[in-house]
Amino acid sequence: MLLENSADKHGGISVFDLNLLLSSITIDSLIQPFSFDFMLQAFAVVLVISLPMALLSCYIVLKGWSLMGDAIAHAVLPGIVLAYMLAIPLSIGAFAAGLCCAMTTGFIKENSRLREDTIMGIVFSGMFAIGIILFHQSNTDLHLTHLLLGDVLGIKTEDLIETGLLSIFVLAILLVRGRDLMLFIFDPQQAQVTGISVKFWHYGIQILLALTIVAALQAVGMILSVALLIIPGACALLVTKQFSKMKIIASAIAMSCSFFGVYLSFYLDSAPAATIVLLMAAVFCVLFSFKLYAERQLVRRKIKKKHSVEELPYASNP
């Protein structure tokens, strides 16, 4: 219809015009998100935060501590509210509360017969509840939804700087001491024998977790930072058997999903953090189905091979 109409108006040349028009519209609209400052800041913050989170997720997933990220993420709430009431930086309160959750869990575990996941469930839901009650007692202008789900589009420059510094710190530690951390996770006894302090890393990994969650709080919020701390590592673990590759794959997935999540949210008018997580979950599903399919194929080929070897004398003779 459009083609006919424009052909009526401009005659034969219009087909080229339209092509030109179409392409210019596409390019324009494609780069449209980059023309807003708040979008640029959103891109920056999710890219900055997704790299350390992806790397950390590799370690967390292998350590079997996915729930620890969840616990710390929930437990920061009372810290944030208290920090707000005391007028100190929110990230300090969040970090303190996250560490408090980790330490309390460790203390109860050492002094009871309960399993760690049970204890974490108690500690983090308890702290979360305290946070909620405090939140409603204090007349803050904080938005609970922003804390829970993040506010990527409302990022301020100082938030971006804070997030960037925390990310660089976590990245630097993982870059320099990552091999020690990996050995600690794979074989604590060997780590001990090598002279790597097991105690140091036991708490070190929790501190790194708390720092990353604090850094991610502004961008993706408490709930979705859990996804960023688990899904990239889990995806990578599906497709590789080598730790060095796992880190690269996880980073690639996290960064591309973060970028396209924010990008798509512009057009879909959806919550950016949720879009990021949805994309990552989709990547996981695709990888998982692909792996399932590949394994089935492998089994089928093996069975076929067996049969063809048996039948070879008959089948191959013409």
């Binding site: 050492e110 091999r179 002279g195």
Partner: protein
């Protein structure tokens, strides 16, 4: 006691692992081991034998500095445990159950972990480290599996990888936790040969095992423990019926072969088979015409009645 001190004085240079009056108490008040003392000489293979819960792994942990000594002390090559760990003198081969076999590491990655102590703090391997890894892998005959993920290996291969890691570490002291569980006979022989070579190179090797049968074959010393030290010394002196009964009696099932089942004559010699594995099949007779001997199940607390009975403890 006097004897021990005497021999300690004689060759204090040659003592690899020295444990002096060691007790370990866990946080919950459970006393895992008490008053254990022994000296393991350099260039020897020592078996650490005891039932489950006898404190074998606690003793290992104390030697590696994993648990604090409640009382007494451990010294390794004349150094404190901390110093020995710092100078990378202790290598450890873990029990298979302690390893996450789904972990995304390749065989060479695992062996390279043994080199961490030799690297700078960024843990970037140099060519010397790669050479050490290759050498270690070739000593356990696993070079061709270098790029396999560890979960893709058989039980015996898995053990050899971790042994290679201990080799790559080039430590003086090697601790092995149950090295023969889940391992085929060929690998067991291979490991035993390797351990003997290592001992002749002057290493100190301590093997925790419940595989009693193989102990006299390759361990020159043996330690029997059950919370406290039952016996320590040359394997031939430690592995007596009495000592083994002390270590295993009363806890495990026991089967006794009566003398009548063994011979028709008045020969009073007895065959003693002791194992904590499955009930063994025992054959006795002239070569070529051995007959199955049926063993009689005994209640665990029944004492062995006479010297004429061959006992099978299970």
């Amino acid at each position: 006691m006097k004897n021990r001190q005497q021999s300690a004085l004689d060759n204090s240079q040659n003592i690899g692992i020295s444990v002096d009056n060691l007790s370990v108490v866990y946080k919950n008040g459970h006393q895992a081991i008490r008053n254990i003392s022994f000296d393991i000489p350099v260039g020897s293979i020592t078996a650490l034998v005891g039932i489950n819960g006898s404190g074998k792994s606690t003793l290992f942990k104390a030697i590696m500095g994993f648990v604090p000594c409640y009382q007494g002390s451990v010294s390794l090559l004349g150094l404190s445990v901390k110093q020995a760990l710092k100078s990378h003198q202790v290598a450890y081969v873990p029990q298979s159950e302690d390893v996450d076999w789904n972990f995304p590491v390749l065989v060479e990655d695992v062996v390279m972990m043994g080199r961490f102590g030799h690297m700078n703090f960024l843990r970037i391997p140099k060519s010397a480290d790669h050479q050490a890894v290759d050498l270690a892998l070739s000593r356990v005959n696993m070079q061709s599996f270098k790029h396999r993920q560890i979960g893709e290996l058989s039980g015996g291969q898995r053990k050899r990888v971790f042994l290679a890691r201990a080799l790559a570490q080039q430590s003086q002291i090697i601790l092995l936790d149950e090295p023969f569980t889940g391992v085929d006979v060929t690998t067991e022989e291979h490991i035993i040969r390797l351990l003997k070579d290592l001992a002749s190179e002057g290493k100190v090797i301590l093997v925790s095992t419940h595989n009693l049968g193989s102990v006299p074959e390759f361990c020159d010393h043996a330690i029997l423990i059950n919370k406290e030290l039952l016996a320590y010394g040359k394997t031939s002196k430690v592995f007596t019926t009495q000592n083994l009964q002390k270590a295993f009696g009363g806890v495990l099932r026991r089967f006794v072969l009566s003398a009548e089942n063994l011979h028709d004559d008045v020969d009073s010699r007895a065959v003693t088979v002791i194992t904590d594995d499955e009930r063994p099949v025992v054959l006795y007779g002239e070569k070529g015409s051995e007959k199955l001997i049926e063993s009689q199940r005994y209640q665990s607390n029944t004492p062995v009645s006479s010297k004429n009975t061959a006992t099978i403890q299970e």
